[in-house]
C-alpha cells in the first residue's frame, strides 16, 4: 500500500503499445518527469519516482499520442512523402509543365 502512495506504475501492453511509442514518450518527458522504464515479458512497465497527481496521466496521454502517430504513419507515410516531395520540387521550380 505504501508503495502505491510513493510510487505509481503504468504497464504498457505490447499488444497495443509498441516499444518505439513508449521509448519516444520517455525521450520527450525525461526532463519533465522522474521515472524508470523496465522491459517485461509482455510490455514495458513505467514506474514514477515521485507521487504527483497527473504525471502518469501525462505519460499515458503522450504514449497514446505517439502510438497513434506510428499507426497513422503506417497508413499514410507514402502519401505524405509524395505530397512533401511535390511541395519541395515545386518550390524550387521543378516539374514545371511547359
Amino acid at each position: 500500500m505504501a508503495l502505491e502512495i510513493t510510487e505509481r506504475r503504468i504497464f504498457f501492453d505490447s499488444s497495443v503499445y509498441s516499444t518505439e511509442a513508449v521509448n519516444m514518450t520517455a525521450f520527450i518527458l525525461e526532463d519533465k518527469i522522474d521515472f524508470v522504464t523496465e522491459k517485461k515479458e509482455n510490455g514495458i512497465e513505467v514506474t514514477f519516482k515521485h507521487f504527483s497527481e497527473n504525471e502518469p496521466e501525462i505519460f499515458a496521454n503522450e504514449a497514446l499520442n505517439q502510438q497513434c502517430r506510428i499507426d497513422v504513419s503506417k497508413v499514410s507515410s507514402g502519401l505524405t512523402k509524395l505530397i512533401v516531395s511535390k511541395a519541395l520540387v515545386s518550390a524550387v521550380g521543378g516539374g514545371k509543365q511547359e
Binding site: R69, V72, V84, A87, S90, G93
Partner: protein, 479 residues
C-alpha cells in the same frame, strides 16, 4: 464503340468522418461531403464498405465517394485546387523593413523593441538582395509584403526598395504586387502619394470601435484609432475617385485581432468596419506567442469564448448582407472556398501542408530568411529554429532547408494523429510555428490545440449556416 464492363462491386470510399447531429458526415480528400444516417453507415461499414448497385447515386459518384468510379482527372483537380502551396513556388515574400515599432500592442507576437535602435532597420543593400532572391525563385507571381515592426520607420529604404522592385518587374515576365502593413502613424500625403502611384495595396489594423481598439493598440498620445480612421477614409476616397488616373488605386484593407478586450463587442466591431467603408473583415483570435503569451492573463481568450464571439459577428454580417450592406468575413471565405471546391482560400496557415517556405518566406531586417512571418517573430523572441538561410544563400538551398522540410511533414494532415480521420481535414490546416510556440512540438497536440478547436468550431458553425439555402447563396457570392 468501347463496351465498358460494369464493376462487379462498388465500395464506399471515404477517408474522414464524424458524428454530425443525428447523422454521420463523410468527407474525402477531393473535398466531397456527404451526410448519411448512422444506421445506414453502420450497415455499410459492417459489409466492408461495399455498396449495392441501388446505393450508388449520381451524387456519391460526382463527389468521389465510389472507389470504382473515381474520375482521376476531375478529382485530382479538386485536390489540387485546395492544396495550392504544394504545387507552386513561393509567391508571398514578406520583407521586415525594421524590427522597430512606434506602438506597443497588447498582443504583439514579435516583442517589438521600441522605435529608437536603427540597427534593427533593413539596409537598402539587404533589401535589394532580398528582392533579387525573390526574383530568383521560380514563381510567375510575386507578392511583396512590407511589414515590421512599423515599416514606415524605415521610409527611405522602403521607398527605394519599391522603386527597385518596379524596375526589376519591367525587365521580367512576372506579375508583381506590393502591399504594405502599417499602423499609419507616420503616414503623410507625400508618402501616401508615392505609395498609391506605385500601386501598393495598403492594409492596417482596426480592432473595432475606439473603446476596443485603444485598449489593444497602445500608441504615444493614444492617437492610433483616430489615425487609422483618418487614413482609411483618405485611401478609400482616393480609391473611389481614381477615374482618369494612370495607375490603379486599390481599396485599403484592415484586420482584427480578437482579445479579451473584444468580448461583448462582436456587433460593434463589424459595424465599425462598415462605417469605415471597408467591405471585408478578417477576424482572428489572439495567438499565445511572444509578448501576447506573456500578457495572456490580461488578453487571452479560450476557444469557446472566441467561437461565441465569432458566431455572433458572422450572424450579424449575414444579417447586414441581407439588408444590402456589402461586407464579407475572410475566415469564412477561406473555409467556404474549400467547402464549395472553389479553391484553397488563399491562406497559407489553413493549408495542408502549410505554405511555410514553399508558399511564403519572410526576410528579416538583417537578411535572415525564415519559413514564414510567424517563424521570424519567434526569432525575435530568441528562438531561431525556423531560420532557413540568408539572402546571400542559393535559392535551392534555402527552399529545401531542414526547417522547410520539417514544417511540410508536420503540417501534412494525412500524417497528423487526430487530423487524418477528422471530417474537417479537407478544409483545414495546421501551423507548425504556432504548435511549436504553444505546445512544444511542430506537429502539436491537437486535442489540446487552440487553433484546432477554433477551426473545428468555425467549420461547425459555417456548416450549420449552410443548411439554409439563402445563407448558402449569400456565402457563395463572397467567393
Amino acid at each position: 464503340m468501347e463496351n465498358k464492363k460494369e464493376p462487379e462491386k462498388y465500395t464506399l470510399l471515404f477517408q474522414h468522418w464524424k458524428k454530425y447531429q443525428d447523422k454521420i458526415l463523410l468527407t474525402n480528400d477531393f473535398g466531397g461531403k456527404f451526410e448519411i444516417p448512422e444506421e445506414e453507415f453502420q450497415s455499410i461499414c459492417s459489409k466492408n464498405c461495399s455498396l449495392s448497385v441501388t446505393d450508388v447515386t449520381k451524387e456519391l459518384v460526382d463527389k468521389g465517394f465510389v472507389a470504382e468510379m473515381i474520375d482521376p482527372e476531375k478529382h485530382s483537380l479538386s485536390w489540387a485546387r485546395r492544396h495550392f502551396s504544394v504545387l507552386l513556388a513561393p509567391e508571398l515574400h514578406i520583407m521586415v523593413m525594421t524590427s522597430r515599432c512606434n506602438m506597443q500592442c497588447v498582443y504583439c507576437q514579435a516583442g517589438s523593441p521600441g522605435k529608437q535602435d536603427k540597427v534593427l532597420d533593413m539596409s537598402l543593400e539587404t533589401a535589394k538582395k532580398a528582392v533579387d532572391f525573390a526574383f530568383n525563385t521560380p514563381s510567375p507571381v510575386l507578392n511583396f509584403e512590407f511589414q515590421g515592426g512599423e515599416p514606415l520607420l524605415n521610409w527611405e529604404v522602403l521607398a527605394d526598395t519599391v522603386e527597385y522592385i518596379r524596375e526589376k518587374e519591367k525587365k521580367s515576365a512576372r506579375t508583381v504586387s506590393i502591399s504594405l502593413i502599417s499602423n499609419f502613424i507616420l503616414m503623410d500625403e507625400r508618402k501616401a502619394d508615392f505609395l498609391l502611384k506605385n500601386e501598393i495595396i495598403l492594409c492596417t489594423s482596426l480592432d473595432g470601435p475606439e473603446c476596443v481598439h485603444s485598449k489593444n493598440r497602445h500608441s504615444e498620445n493614444d492617437i492610433s484609432y483616430e489615425t487609422v480612421r483618418k487614413w482609411l477614409k483618405y485611401f478609400k476616397e482616393r480609391h473611389d475617385n481614381q477615374k482618369g488616373n494612370s495607375y490603379r488605386i486599390f481599396k485599403p484593407g484592415a484586420i482584427v485581432t480578437v482579445t479579451k478586450n473584444s468580448m461583448g463587442h462582436a456587433k460593434k466591431i463589424v459595424d465599425e468596419y462598415v462605417s469605415a467603408g471597408l467591405e471585408s473583415i478578417y477576424l482572428r483570435p489572439v495567438s499565445k506567442i511572444g509578448y501576447a503569451g506573456r500578457n495572456w492573463n490580461a488578453i487571452g481568450i479560450t476557444p469557446a469564448e472566441y467561437l461565441e464571439f465569432y458566431s455572433e459577428a458572422l450572424k450579424h454580417i449575414i444579417e447586414l448582407n441581407k439588408k444590402g450592406v456589402s461586407i464579407s468575413e475572410q475566415a469564412c471565405i477561406i473555409f467556404c472556398s474549400k467547402i464549395f471546391d472553389a479553391g484553397s482560400g488563399g491562406n497559407y496557415d489553413v493549408d495542408s501542408p502549410c505554405g511555410a517556405g514553399t508558399g511564403q518566406i519572410a526576410y528579416n531586417y538583417d537578411g535572415s530568411i525564415y519559413t514564414c512571418d510567424e517563424g521570424r517573430m519567434l526569432a525575435m523572441e530568441g528562438d531561431d529554429i525556423f531560420r532557413i538561410g540568408s539572402v546571400d544563400d542559393p535559392v535551392e538551398k534555402v527552399l529545401t532547408a531542414d526547417a522547410v522540410r520539417a514544417c511540410k511533414c508536420a503540417s501534412d494532415l494525412n500524417a497528423q494523429a487526430m487530423c487524418s480521420r477528422c471530417a474537417y481535414m479537407p478544409y483545414c490546416g495546421t501551423c507548425p510555428v504556432f504548435n511549436y510556440a504553444t505546445q512544444g512540438s511542430l506537429a502539436g497536440d491537437m486535442p489540446n490545440n487552440m487553433r484546432c478547436a477554433v477551426n473545428k468550431g468555425q467549420i461547425d458553425f459555417i456548416l450549420e449556416l449552410l443548411k439554409d439555402k439563402e445563407n448558402e447563396e449569400l456565402l457563395k457570392k463572397w467567393l
